[in-house]
């Protein structure tokens, strides 16, 4: 038992209850989990990441690296929550992490002792990398299980998160990050301009370090309350508390994470601001001494805020350890509240007289030019060992002082992350021994402690000047802010102390990054192993990568690194800060786009019919297309073979509405298509269709499809499902950039038309029954002909084209009549035994026929590769014509399209298999090509495939092998023509 509630601080006396590891505890409304645990005397909150050392609260803010807890249970559980940032709510369930069975008695604390037995422990710097280099069998059997059990932070909930998250886009004239004295002042000044202002602060209460002061410091408390009150009533000011601004991006965009206690758990604010004022304050740095991670060792500012804001004494007897002036206030406040301060240990050579006198008046002993070398105690601190420093840097005689709280301060680090995200590198400032970003730029200002200005009045003035400049840049006028009469002196008079001198065997107990268990020894090891860049040192040791993102660890570590390198901190430099600077829930980034809302579902006009029919669907881009329509317990393989065979003998209907459809209109349409397609379209008669291929500028095939001529100046193009959007953009690009002189307009009509393919010997008879007023005879509608009709007043386009190799038609009807027409054709086809068929059977039919799709036209193939070089017209120029003639694309040895037949017809040929000449896969055997699509062919009663084979056309009749080493398959295949079925097109054309 160490901490206790001494008074109420700024809280009211409303009592609430919560639980910690199942034990019910009481708190005051406004308490954080950290203040409430300390108020209940709880010292050990959890265990550490690698060594399972006991850890407790060690700060009072975003920099917390000790008290990391899990909040909630089941699906609601959130691991690694900083106890200092989590408000207690009624019934909140909090639990410890990384310990079993309890934080007081943790069996895995053995890691700690292992760490001290070996100078380079298995979990020292770089252990991730080193253990991976062991023989694989050691890793899987020994190291990985051991490390998994031992190391880690919290547990990921094993159920889906049920909470809701929102994403909010907002626009402001001025965004102010940080609601301390500087941020409040900037907001108040800017608010008077009438511009739209947003003020963000990661804490529940505005005031920043003003909340560290005793409430009795009336002048400043009044100033804080009045300023907040003025902002709250201003209509043009939005105040976001519990909101951490975690990243600054291009175009003055800020990302902020708001924690709310309601139906929605977190909000992700994407804020666009014309001007940004960074008032993120500064964070106190720890001093690095042996066992500085023990519960009871706490940043002085944290101990001060706990006492003054939450009324919680962080211990019963304090020792203050500092290298600067600022921390003395913590000792004075504790003393003045009647809490004993055993001693102040000040590492500096020179002393600040006014502070020394203030200590004498209070009777607090001051040990000048001395250091705390070690915190002692089993779980929490029970005493410290104190030594004098000698001029040669070694330690003098030591003695112990009894205490249960070590408040320490190694100086202050301005929060430069937001400034650094903008690309401005932080610069080391010797005066305050910290990195600052001097930014008073065109649209961003850093002010107050964030800019290294620690004085209160000076910081307020600086913020006001920045706000006025921001307003002025937006042609408005910022107002004046009342400067409080009472100042806080910002002089630190700091003398750097990066780590307390210690024998080398204690350096692995001197913690630099407490959450990641990175010690002074680890930094030494990283240096010894040659990591001389700070970026490498950070990654090798994992320093600064924890929840606090290096807020407390970075500067100390850089200074130690500089020491090892025997160079200045400026020369060593700092790591670049990257978003996010604080933990952000993935849920907030996803927002409502989860589950079925991850991406939109495109539905064809016949989707509901397919669903009612029990179709099995397959994803095709944003569509879910029917893959097959099972009868009874049919498997996929049984169903597609049945469907494909049925189409060849009778008739089937397939939904092809997902095809891209583009209408091309204007007097120059034919000229335009001649340039876009490799083949000629200007010669195409009205009411005729032609298969076309378009190339990219680099000479490779881009897309294919059927385009029909509706009138002299009007064409109807279809594209593949996958390329529908890209082809439209390509056409628009050519018209607007390359040929603005062409009078052509293109519009997507993909959503306007439902499309269905009716295929099979009975397709004509079916259509004739369905649309009796139209003539489908060979004479009236020959192959590649287009007929127009009406169905219940709605226009119909019926195109005689075939993808299947059977007599076939594509029926286009206005989308709102899609399902009606589909059902009508199904009904009229009944006498001919019509069935619906899915994508799988469609694939079988086209492979039998040797038609290519995206599996073949994968962006790497040329016309010649798919044996279609003859399609290229010599009468005109087209996109891709020039580079198509490149030597590499003309190489006769290029793999080209062939058909493949399994020698044993019942042996499947896996898609993706490699084609080789050898009858087994041996080292150095030459890859001859690959298999692009395969199917079981009911027409050929065996497995067939399409593939690409070097000099393929010359190798018809050869037997080669399809190797699929992943499954140990090596299948003999015969090279055949890709036109397996009806190579002379008799079925398609001449009926």
């Amino acid at each position: 038992m160490s901490g206790f509630r001494s008074h109420l601080g700024r809280l009211n006396d409303e009592q609430i209850s919560f639980s910690f590891n199942g034990q019910s505890l009481s708190a005051r409304a406004g308490d954080t989990v950290a203040s409430a645990l300390l108020a209940n005397g709880i010292e050990v909150v959890g265990r550490s990441f690698k060594y399972h050392r006991p850890r407790g609260v060690n700060s009072c803010g975003a920099e917390e690296s000790g008290a990391l807890v899990s909040v909630g249970i089941g699906a609601e559980q959130e691991p690694n929550v900083r106890a200092t940032m989590q408000l207690v709510t009624e019934g909140l369930q909090v639990s410890s992490q990384n310990c079993w069975p309890s934080p007081q008695f943790d069996l895995l604390a053995i890691n700690n002792f292992v760490g001290s037995l070996f100078p380079s422990s298995p979990l020292a710097a770089g252990f991730y990398y080193k253990t991976f280099m062991w023989p694989a069998k050691f890793w899987y059997k020994l190291y990985e299980p051991a490390i998994r059990r031992a190391a880690g932070m919290g547990k990921v909930p094993d159920q889906a998160d049920k909470a809701a998250y929102d994403r909010i886009n907002s626009f402001y004239d001025i965004a102010i990050i940080g609601g301390g004295a500087a941020g409040l002042s900037a907001a108040l000044s800017a608010a008077q301009s009438g511009l739209r202002i947003v003020l963000m602060d990661e804490h529940a209460t505005l005031g920043g370090q003003l909340l560290h002061l005793p409430k009795q410091q009336q002048d400043l408390e009044q100033w804080r309350q009045n300023t907040i009150a003025s902002l709250q009533v201003a209509d043009n000011v939005t105040i976001l508390t519990n909101t951490v601004c975690w990243g600054r991006f291009d175009g003055n965009t800020l990302a902020a994470h708001e924690v709310i206690d309601g139906k929605v758990r977190h909000n992700f604010h994407k804020i666009h601001a014309e001007k940004i004022i960074i008032a993120t304050g500064a964070i106190e740095r720890p001093l690095v001494f042996t066992n500085n991670d023990k519960p009871g060792v706490m940043l002085a500012s944290g101990a001060r805020k706990l006492l003054n804001n939450y009324g919680v004494a962080a211990g019963r007897q304090m020792v203050l350890f500092t290298n600067n002036d600022s921390a003395y206030k913590t000792a004075f406040d504790y003393h003045d509240q009647g809490l004993p301060v055993a001693a102040i240990i000040d590492s500096r050579e020179s002393r600040s007289e006014h502070l020394f006198e203030a200590c004498q008046q209070r009777g607090i002993p001051v040990h000048q030019y001395s250091v705390v070398t070690k915190a002692k105690g089993w779980h929490g601190v029970r005493s410290v060992q104190v030594s004098e420093l000698k001029d040669d840097g070694t330690l003098g005689a030591s003695h112990d002082i009894t205490c249960d709280l070590v408040a320490h301060s190694g100086g202050w680090s301005p929060q430069v992350q937001m400034a650094s995200h903008g690309g401005t590198p932080p610069i080391y400032d010797e005066q305050i021994t910290a990195f600052v970003v001097d930014q008073q730029a065109a649209d961003t200002w850093s002010v107050g402690a964030a800019q290294g200005q620690f004085g209160l009045q000076a910081g307020i003035k600086q913020a006001m000047v920045a706000a006025q400049a921001a307003c002025q840049a937006l042609a408005c006028q910022g107002g004046e802010v009342l400067i409080p009469a009472e100042d806080i002196n910002g002089e630190l008079n700091i003398e750097p102390l990066w780590s307390v001198p210690a024998p080398s065997k204690q350096k692995n107990k001197q913690f630099v990054d407490i959450q990641h268990d990175v010690t002074v020894a680890d930094i030494g090891l990283a240096h010894k192993e040659g990591f001389i860049s700070v970026e490498h040192m950070k990654r090798y040791t994992t320093l600064g990568m924890a929840n606090d993102q290096g807020r407390t660890a970075n500067v100390n570590a850089l200074a130690m690194m500089a020491g090892h390198l025997e160079q200045s901190i400026t020369a060593t430099g700092t790591t670049r800060f990257r978003p996010p600077i604080a933990p952000v829930s993935l849920g907030s980034i996803a927002g409502r786009e989860v589950g079925e809302h991850v991406r939109p579902l495109r539905r064809t006009p016949m989707q509901e019919w397919h669903e009612r029919q029990g179709a099995v669907f397959v994803e095709a881009g944003l569509f879910r297309r029917p893959q097959y329509y099972p009868i009874g317990n049919e498997t996929l393989d049984q169903a597609y073979v049945r469907e494909a065979a049925h189409v060849r003998t009778k008739v089937g209907l397939c939904d092809v509405s997902s095809l891209g459809k583009i209408e091309i209109v204007g007097p120059d349409s034919a000229v335009f298509l001649d340039r876009i397609y490799v083949n000629l379209f200007s010669s195409l008669p009205v009411n005729k269709a032609r298969y076309g291929i378009m190339l990219r500028e680099d000479g490779h095939i881009y897309d294919d499809g059927t385009t029909s001529r509706l009138a002299d100046d009007r064409f109807f193009m279809t594209t593949t499902t996958a390329k529908a959007g890209a082809v439209l953009s390509h056409l628009e690009r050519c018209l607007e950039i390359d040929w603005p002189e062409l009078q052509v307009r293109v519009s997507s009509v993909s959503e306007h038309w439902a499309a269905m393919a009716l295929a099979g010997p009975q397709s004509r008879a079916t259509l004739q029954l369905a649309f009796p007023e139209m003539d489908f005879s060979q004479a009236a509608l020959p192959f590649m002909g287009l007929a127009h009709g009406k169905y219940q007043g709605s226009p119909l386009r019926i195109l005689r084209v075939s993808f299947s190799g059977e007599l076939a038609y594509e029926v286009y009807v206005q989308a709102d009549h899609g399902e009606q027409v589909w059902q009508h054709i199904m009904a009229m086809g009944q006498p001919h035994d019509i069935i619906p068929y899915g994508l799988e059977a469609l694939g079988t039919l086209r492979i039998e026929k040797g038609h290519v799709t995206g599996a073949e036209l994968d962006g790497r193939v040329t016309l010649a590769d798919v044996n279609m070089q003859r399609m290229a017209s010599k009468k005109k120029w087209f996109v891709g014509q020039n580079l198509m003639q490149r030597e590499g694309l003309q190489d006769p040895k290029r793999p080209c399209l062939v058909g493949l037949k399994a020698v044993d017809p019942q042996q499947a040929i896996p898609t993706g298999a490699i084609l080789v000449n050898e009858n087994k896969l041996v080292a150095g055997c030459d890859k001859q090509g690959w298999v692009s699509s395969m199917t079981y062919s009911p027409a050929l009663e065996g497995f067939i495939a399409l593939g690409f084979l070097t000099s393929g056309q010359k190798r018809i009749g050869e037997t080669i092998y399809a190797a699929y080493p992943l499954q140990g398959q090596h299948i003999p295949v015969e090279v055949v023509s890709s036109h397996f079925y009806d190579p002379d097109n008799i079925q398609v054309k001449d009926q």
């Binding site: 175009g251 690309g423 500028e697 959007g725 953009s729 628009e732 690009r733 607007e736 950039i737 020039n882």
Partner: protein
């Protein structure tokens, strides 16, 4: 988040737009040499700094636009139609 001013639609988020290509090139003559075509399709200056590029307002009016963007800072200093030139370039060329 970049914001792009479409001459037709006004200032919009860049997520409505799609990057197209370098705007510092024009289609060679159909009879141009293979080398010219090769340079047109493959050779780029890869400028660090102000750069002209084509973007399409895909989720808006679908117009193709010319955008002057700094490839280092991502600042967009000018947008226009494909056959317009930014003001300072006009001055430089006259």
């Amino acid at each position: 988040m970049l914001r792009i001013k479409c001459p037709y639609c006004g200032v919009r988020e860049h997520t409505e737009f799609t990057y197209g290509e370098d705007a510092n090139r024009s289609l060679p003559d159909p009879d141009a040499s293979l080398e010219n075509w090769n340079n047109y399709v493959f050779a780029r200056q890869n400028v660090a700094g102000e750069h002209l590029e084509y973007w399409q307002h895909t989720l808006g009016c679908r117009a193709w636009l010319k955008v002057q963007r700094d490839t280092v800072t991502h600042d967009i200093t000018w947008t226009g139609l494909p056959h317009e030139t930014p003001p300072q370039q006009k001055e430089a060329s006259t």
